[in-house]
């Protein structure tokens, strides 16, 4: 087996405003032809920086030392023309977000041809033929027509296929895939992983896969490199790493991955008048002039009892966030009925709803942007208390704020810090503290952990469960991750294209899914175990063929 890339003692240092930061520290790894090597680690572990160094994509503030042998040639220190020749031909890159990796003003065919023409002579017709050929290879249906499509006419999964086709078209020895499926839905993710596997087997390409998702690693990787704080802590084959992880960090990482467990038993919820009741709820967004309005939520009915956690699962565009926002009064209800704490939300006025707001807490997806950057954490947590007249100003609210920070396991001193001085997990805790400040009877959590690393996510979920037990609030927990929802929810509702396709307890929905969509969703979720995942992959294939 030939060694396509060999990284030896790589060190990368960044110059920042706060002084030099060492991002990659003495990293050595390699990839052979026809092999998928996964680099796993949490944000800031240096996995992306390592990969970007291979094709010289680091910003000029970075200083690199060590050696990267790409096909036997050291690429560190290459500049301009030599480096450009390397890109594409020796190594190509697939980016995380396919919608931003494609230029919106050119057709996908043009963009494919652009890469070809940069590395060889092609006539227009030849380039087009080649583009169609590669679109066929990555499984785009109807490639003769799609080659003239603009990126916005394609779905996220198709766009990622185009990006992979662009990488493949130059026949590279190495493809670097930087979180290639993170921005995609699970069902689409499964298809893209299949495609990458096909690329490896068919073209004999070496693939360096950068990811934080252990399920993806188990599904695709042959060998795994675990990185932590810029250092490689463990290298092993996928089989060995998952069955017998050696380094404590790897063990912790694997333990933190949420898993579906249908045998979980939950105490029954006492029957009581529901806090939220939706009947045939319809939410439409007005279209542009001359266009039909868009129906985001279409005839959805559900209810949440006091003290109950309802998990709302669905892919992007399924309307799950819209429902959460409608309950919080951020989006107008356009049809049906939605009763929140005894208030009909259809046509409600902000003035009538304002007193109800103290009963509702809201946790947003991105903890980085849900805090005003100019207020300290204590001031931000005190906001609801001040607005609802429970405290005169931030100083008067401080004792209560300290209590709240303690409840979410943050040190009191963190109250005087600014949001950007906290890590993602700490910020999401502060966000929980803010939403609990008025002791709400209902909490809406919109993907509260999807922006966090696995190990941080595990701790935040634990905290959420504890707080729910302690305060006894009802909650709507919105997520795209079945395993996360399963950990917290008393009941699970599955949304698909604005419709509620299945609802029931975790054991019912995940143990014996009835709707084909739920079945596919469940089968698409990769599990962190290569052997089990191989079995599940076959199941999913059978399911897809049955469709």
């Amino acid at each position: 087996m030939s060694r396509v890339v060999d990284i030896q003692n790589l060190e990368v240092t960044f110059a920042t405003d706060g002084g030099d930061v060492s991002a990659v520290d003495n990293v050595s790894l390699f990839a052979n032809a026809g092999e998928v090597v996964a680099i796993v680690g949490e944000s800031g572990s240096g996995k992306s920086v390592t990969a970007k160094t291979i094709i010289g994509l680091l910003p000029e503030t970075a200083v690199t030392r060590g050696a990267i042998l790409l096909n036997g040639r050291d690429v560190i220190g290459l500049t301009g023309e030599q480096l450009r020749a390397t890109r594409g031909h020796d190594a190509a890159m697939v980016f995380q977000e396919p919608s931003t990796a494609l230029n919106p003003v050119y057709t996908v065919g043009w963009q494919l041809a652009e890469g070809l023409r940069a590395h060889g002579k092609y006539t227009k017709r030849q380039a087009r033929a080649k583009a169609i050929e590669y679109l066929t290879k990555v499984g785009i249906p109807d490639p003769e027509k799609r080659v003239d499509y603009y990126p916005h006419q394609m779905s996220g999964g198709q766009k990622q296929r185009v990006v992979i086709a662009m990488a493949l078209a130059l026949d590279p020895e190495l493809i670097i895939a930087d979180e290639p499926t993170t921005a995609l839905d699970v069902t689409v993710q499964a298809e893209i992983l299949d495609l990458l596997r096909h690329v490896r087997d068919e073209f004999g390409t070496a693939i360096i896969l950068i990811t934080h998702n252990m399920g993806v690693v188990a599904d695709l990787a042959d060998r795994v490199v675990v990185m932590f704080e810029g250092k490689v802590v463990e290298q092993a084959t996928a089989q060995k790493l998952f069955s017998a992880p050696e380094h404590p960090y790897t063990q912790r990482l694997l333990a933190a991955v949420p898993r579906i467990d249908v045998s979980r038993v939950r105490p029954p919820i006492k029957p009581a008048p529901p806090v939220v009741e939706a009947k045939d709820l319809v939410i439409e967004f007005a279209g542009r002039l001359g266009q039909k309005s868009f129906r985001a939520v279409d005839g959805v009915s559900f209810s949440i009892s006091p003290g109950e956690v309802l998990g709302l699962v669905g892919e992007s565009g399924s309307g799950k966030t819209t429902i959460g926002r409608a309950i919080g009064g951020l989006t107008k209800v356009t049809g049906g009925s939605l009763e929140v704490l005894g208030h009909q939300m259809l046509g409600i006025k902000e003035r009538a709803f304002k007193p109800v707001r103290s009963e509702i807490g809201f946790v947003f997806q991105d903890p980085a942007s849900s805090f005003n950057p100019l207020l300290t954490v204590a001031q931000a947590v005190a906001e609801p208390l001040i607005v609802h007249g429970r405290a005169g100003d931030a100083a008067a609210a401080r004792p209560r704020v300290d209590e709240l920070l303690e409840a979410v396991q943050l040190p009191r001193a963190f109250g005087d810090r600014f949001p950007h001085e906290l890590s993602g997990g700490q910020r999401q805790r502060a966000s929980l503290a803010r939403s609990l400040a008025l002791e709400p009877t209902l909490l809406i959590a919109d993907e509260p952990t999807s922006a966090l690393d696995v190990s941080v996510q595990a701790r935040v979920l634990e905290l959420f469960a504890e707080l729910q037990k302690e305060f006894g609030f009802a909650a709507l927990f919105i997520s795209h991750d079945l395993a996360v929802v399963d950990m917290l929810s008393d009941r699970i509702a599955v949304l698909y294209h604005g419709r509620l396709v299945e609802e029931g307890t975790g054991a019912q929905v995940l143990g014996a899914p009835q709707h084909p969509y739920t079945q596919r969703l469940l089968a698409s979720l990769p599990v962190p175990d290569p052997k089990e995942q191989a079995v599940r992959r076959e199941e999913l294939r059978a399911l897809r063929e049955a469709d």
């Binding site: 920042t16 405003d17 800031g44 200083v63 704080e229 951020l330 950057p373 100019l374 607005v387 890590s423």
Partner: protein, 341 residues
Amino acid sequence: MASLTGPRGLINRLPIVHQLRQSVGLQRGMLIAGLVITGLFVLTAILAPLLAPYGYSTLRDEDGVFGAQQPPGGKHLLGTTVGGYDVLSRVIWGTQTALIVIIVAVVLSIFLGVFLGLVSGYIGGWVDRVLVVIADGVYAFPSLLLAIVAAIAISGGQSSFWGGIMAAAISITVVFIPQYFRVIRAETVRIKSEAYVESAMVIGSSAPRIMTQHVLRNATRTLPLIFTLNSSEAVLTLAGLGFLGFGIEPTAAAEWGYDLNKSLSDVTSGIWWTSLFPGLAIVLAVLGITLVGESLNDLADPRLRTRRRADVAPAPTAAASVVPGGSLTDAVDLDSLEARS
């Protein structure tokens, strides 16, 4: 993390000082050059009564009349103008006029512009549309023409010291309000969709509270930049008005544009000192303020800001400090925090 408290941290957080410490290389040179020129400009304006050998409208001293178009040297270091004024004194007194016009024009336009932009961006709807159309309308006029019209309307063209200054300042204000309006409105529209504004809404905060607490404080980031750029534009507009004859009478105040106008015929007859020094004064004042503005702009944008190359021996990551309200580049720090949390 620990560097947030203590006097050092506080000094670093002051606007200009913070940027000065942040800058390196050419950007630092530009910023320092701009600060020095601007500092000299302001100092000259304040100390004009002490620095200038004569008053701005003085035509004679105890030895008699100065005489017109006297070459530099002797009693008149930079010569005298065609009207018989001392050039050096006129240039020095001119800084005072320029500074007052800058201050009045910017103060008048900044409050109104920011308020309108905030309301227009936050409330949206027809209020927003009407205001945007008006702002666009003002943009469509050549700004100098607008300033001339305003100057005539306010003072009938010529007037006393304060009358002339207010005429110039207000006419500049008319042109500037739409600029502040636009910038603040754009920021407001962006910030309105940020999660922290939504989280303030679900808490139940009132609209005025959200506007002042959350939107306004975050929307003012670009103000120092427009402030400096507009200041230099104010100098130019004032000079332009003076040059065209809509400025301030020489007996009311010294004004560079007026002096340039009067020296037009001197240029062809080899009398260089009457036009060179007022012209140089305008160029330096504008250059200094623009340099400060441009460097602030570059430093505020992490993509344009240059940094020192990393040293060969990297420092430990834990020593990294963070400046509140500082910059977007904290991302690197956060990532390392993330890993250790």
